[in-house]
Point group: C2
Chain length 150, copies 2
DNA sequence: ATTCTATTGTTGTACACCACAACAGTTATT
DNA sequence: AATAACTGTTGTGGTGTACAACAATAGAAT
């Protein structure tokens, strides 16, 4: 079989990917998410668990499936998530008043403090990333465009 | 234990997430990626395999690890990927000329045709998504901002 | 030359994530 | 009263991904 030279170029042509919005979106999101995951990890949770906290904090009394639907997850994924957050004393399951099948999810007092501290760190991170944009107006435009692509 | 009403609001408060660039980035990317995955699936490949094709097509003769580095993957992930693409007769491993450890990756003729057909479909999809933006200038600005966030 | 270190492809493993099916208990509908 | 629909839960399988280890090979050091 014919043997061939390999190329070890540090300057690789990404072809259509270079100017593809889908690829750029993915790259930016992965970069953003990597640091966010790290922050969450320092807090002892995962990004998914943090998103559950956000929903429960702003919408006390939600059902597990309601939270799952809000986040676009399967409700089966909620079990382990709520188990974990409950074992950390951050949220609690209370039996629903008029439906013995379901639980209502609530923040504990400690969970509230934990959440405020956590979301402060997350907001700080957001701010440092936003410094890469030129203006608040640009940021608003970015969010607007991203919403249109969702 | 006190029982409590559940809330089944369709109008859920996403709190800090609603105006968070990180969250919006994730949402847009996931939405974008879901359809992209579907297109790839129709072609019989995965998004990861498609990205390998893009790199190999534009950079013939690359080593497996070079492709892995370009894509930010571990080189161990490349084995199954190249196995699959080779079994589909899309690319081929040729023994490297001056290094008996490594292979040089090349597109087959059929792989070339397959890739052109595939990237056409992917580009079409990109175009339909870009229709949600107001202008080409807006698209350029979006890509520019996304690059800054990477 | 010989030894030591680095690299390549490869395999195995472990872990996170996610979708899906199934189930018992409960509620809603007919 | 019967049937369908929904809740939390468990299990399973697929997928992606990071990491360690290995033999073969290459490069560097002495």
């Amino acid at each position: 079989m014919a043997q061939t030279d390999t190329i070890n170029d540090t300057n690789i042509d990404f072809g259509m990917l270079a100017e593809s919005v889908g690829y750029r979106l993915r790259r930016a999101q992965m970069n953003f998410f990597a640091k966010f995951t790290e922050i969450c990890s320092d807090l002892g949770i995962s990004p998914g668990l943090f998103s559950v906290l956000v929903i429960v904090e702003k919408n006390p009394g939600l059902t597990q499936t309601a939270v799952a639907q809000a986040l676009g997850n399967d409700r089966s994924a909620m079990v382990a998530a709520v188990d974990k957050l409950e074992s950390m004393k951050l949220i609690e399951r209370r039996p629903a008043k008029n439906d013995r099948r379901s639980y209502a999810l609530f923040m504990t007092k400690y969970g509230q403090e934990f959440f405020e501290m956590s979301s402060r760190k997350v907001s700080d991170y957001e701010s440092t990333m936003m410094a890469r944009l030129h203006s608040d107006q640009e940021k608003d435009q970015l969010i607007d465009m991203l919403k249109r692509l969702s």
